[in-house]
Symmetry: C2
């Protein structure tokens, strides 16, 4: 029940990007919109308040060029503020990347979580991918069902839209299947190389 609420997509995205390298706000936004550009876009009006809030929580620190040791009147020089993660920030990022729940597989969150999968534990990755897949399958089933149950409505544009929607989601499911397959194969490989180390090693003792 500590002060751990309201994450939002932005928090994760910012922490994730800052983990890769320190950056200032403006650049952060650009990277953000390249990273997630196909899915969503953020404005400065949400980014800066978010940074402020992360700062207040001690998850990031700002690196202003030189806090004027000589506090001259010309202080107005507004320059870049480079943000970087603190130790708590890194911890928080890990925490966010480790929870495999709705937040990580629903529409809003999935993309960001996926983008930082290389910092996510293999088992968590798999659970998120499977979570998203079953979420999408539920959606397919529910819409297909409702569609089948409905006679009478045959508006061609509505139908066209629903078909396109179904196909898009089916396509994403196929993509997920492929990814899940790869993840499983990697886990298999990892497991077998571990058993090579724990089971085959004794044999080496034998010779």
């Amino acid at each position: 029940m500590a002060g751990k609420k309201g994450a939002g997509v932005l928090e994760l995205a910012v922490l994730g990007l800052l983990h890769e390298s320190p950056m200032h706000g403006y650049e952060l936004r650009k990277r953000l919109n390249t990273l997630l550009g196909m899915f969503r876009a953020f404005s400065y009006g949400s980014l800066y308040p978010c940074l402020k809030q992360l700062l207040a929580k001690g998850l990031i620190v700002e690196d202003r060029p030189e806090e004027p040791t000589v506090p001259l009147a010309l202080q107005s020089r507004r320059s870049k503020i480079v943000y970087k993660l603190t130790a708590e920030g890194k911890e928080r990022l890990q925490e966010l990347l480790t929870e495999a729940g709705p937040a990580s597989w629903e529409d809003e969150g999935f993309g960001v979580h996926f983008a930082f999968f290389s910092h996510t534990r293999a088992d968590v990755r798999l659970r998120i991918l499977e979570g998203r897949r079953s979420r999408l399958e539920e959606r397919l089933e529910s819409v297909r069902g409702a569609l089948a149950r409905t006679r009478e409505r045959v508006d061609s544009y509505t139908l066209e839209l629903q078909n396109h929607g179904l196909e898009s989601v089916e396509r994403e499911v196929r993509w997920l299947n492929e990814l899940i397959g790869r993840e499983r194969a990697e886990q298999e490989q990892a497991r077998s190389s571990i058993s090579n180390m724990t089971q085959d090693q004794p044999r080496e003792d034998d010779r």
Copy 2:
């Protein structure tokens, strides 16, 4: 500058569905989530306030079963409230369906506008489809550009995500191309059958 603000997707969707046939809230939500289920979902917490607001604006009226002519104490019988469009509601719907602007081709609005295309003028349909297409093409260009300009970052998951995003959008562009082609062909046909009526008719007089 009249009281014409904050439309939101819901308003259009509700007006559109009620135009097809009167309905009560619960059913409305279900139809809504079948219609747009692949793209978004609405909760009662937004639907009922929206209905209330449309009622206040006089765009819909409620049809309660029987306003008890006999106001008995057993009035607690809470029953279905069927909503239907008023004349103003139909006008407003037409108005919303006729504006071909960002609201009609951005992510949030496009689906709903498209769903009711059969009530939309052919020229407006075309402009919306083209608007969406160029919006998506902008997005593709900007992300592709940023991607090409960036060396150094080759996180495989990030890349996988961006590729999947690009392909999804490319796919939607192809879909739009097809739809635009069809729309144009239909317009062409319509135009030529008009000239059949104004140019060929005189020939009939000739024989």
